[in-house]
């Protein structure tokens, strides 16, 4: 199960385990459904418990960035472990100001 936590303004999603294409397609819909329902000012993706990620994780972040723009909110990526930050560095996501 995907752990999500919200207060009146923010929605935080706690990502865990191995963030590959299989996992990302499962959780994408859950995150979008909840964000559409709550329309948070800020969607936070917490990577603390992610132990593997390939470029599918970057796609997940880019897709949520687009979705939050449509919903008029912001996206923030937090607690990225050192071992997976290399994939993010390659992606240029830093330039979007979400990291």
């Amino acid at each position: 199960m995907l752990k999500m936590q919200s207060d009146e303004k923010n929605l935080t999603v706690f990502l865990t385990g191995e963030l590959d294409h299989h996992k990302c397609s499962e959780i994408r819909k859950q995150i979008d459904a909840r964000a559409e329902q709550e329309r948070p000012a800020l969607l936070k993706l917490d990577f603390e418990d992610v132990r593997f990620m390939d470029s599918s994780g970057v796609g997940l972040v880019m897709g949520r960035y687009r979705q939050m723009s449509l919903l008029g909110g912001r996206l923030q990526v937090v607690n990225v472990p050192e071992n997976i930050s290399r994939v993010f560095r390659l992606s240029g996501l830093e330039r979007l100001g979400v990291m």
């Binding site: 191995e18 590959d20 294409h21 299989h22 990302c24 397609s25 994408r28 593997f52 990620m53 390939d54 470029s55 599918s56 970057v58 796609g59 997940l60 880019m62 897709g63 071992n83 290399r86 994939v87 390659l90 992606s91």
Partner: protein, 149 residues
């Protein structure tokens, strides 16, 4: 340079097998005593190539993913990921960062990740026939009496 060890693996192109594929290759490579970061590089690159077969080569159809991994006596790992899927029309363009033909949420960074995490990436593809991606990486020998035998 001689081949010292090798393994072959084939499995159905279902996304649930992405984790199995990268773990199996990682387990095979363990005999070279790689560092945590070398192992993570290999797992990530294999995950990219296998995901591409599942997402792009076979699309909604189902097919077989073939992996052939070799270890040389010089400590090099060579991994071939092969499919009999749709093939790639223009390989140089497909390898450009951010290029994707893919469905929702593809980042177009799979080849960029493979190239950055491995020493060498080569792609052979024929439209309508399939694609072979070859990944190579030297595993650094770390102060140990020739335990590779």
């Amino acid at each position: 340079m001689n081949i010292q060890n090798e393994m072959k693996l084939s499995f159905e192109s279902r996304s649930i097998n992405e984790g199995f594929a990268r773990s199996a290759v990682a387990a095979f490579v363990m005999s070279l005593d790689p560092t945590v970061s070398e192992l993570s590089d290999i797992k990530t690159a294999v995950s990219e190539a296998v995901t591409n077969v599942i997402v792009h080569a076979y699309g909604d159809a189902s097919g077989t993913v073939y992996i052939h991994a070799q270890i040389t006596d010089t400590g090099r790992v060579i991994i071939r990921i092969r499919d009999k899927g749709c093939g790639i029309e223009n390989v140089p363009r497909a390898m450009e960062p951010l290029f994707t033909t893919g469905g929702e949420d593809r980042a177009g960074l799979g080849f960029a990740v493979m190239q950055s995490f491995m020493d060498k990436v080569s792609v052979r593809s024929k439209e309508g026939k399939g694609t072979t991606v070859t990944l190579e990486k030297a595993i650094i020998r770390r102060g140990r009496n020739d335990s590779r035998r």
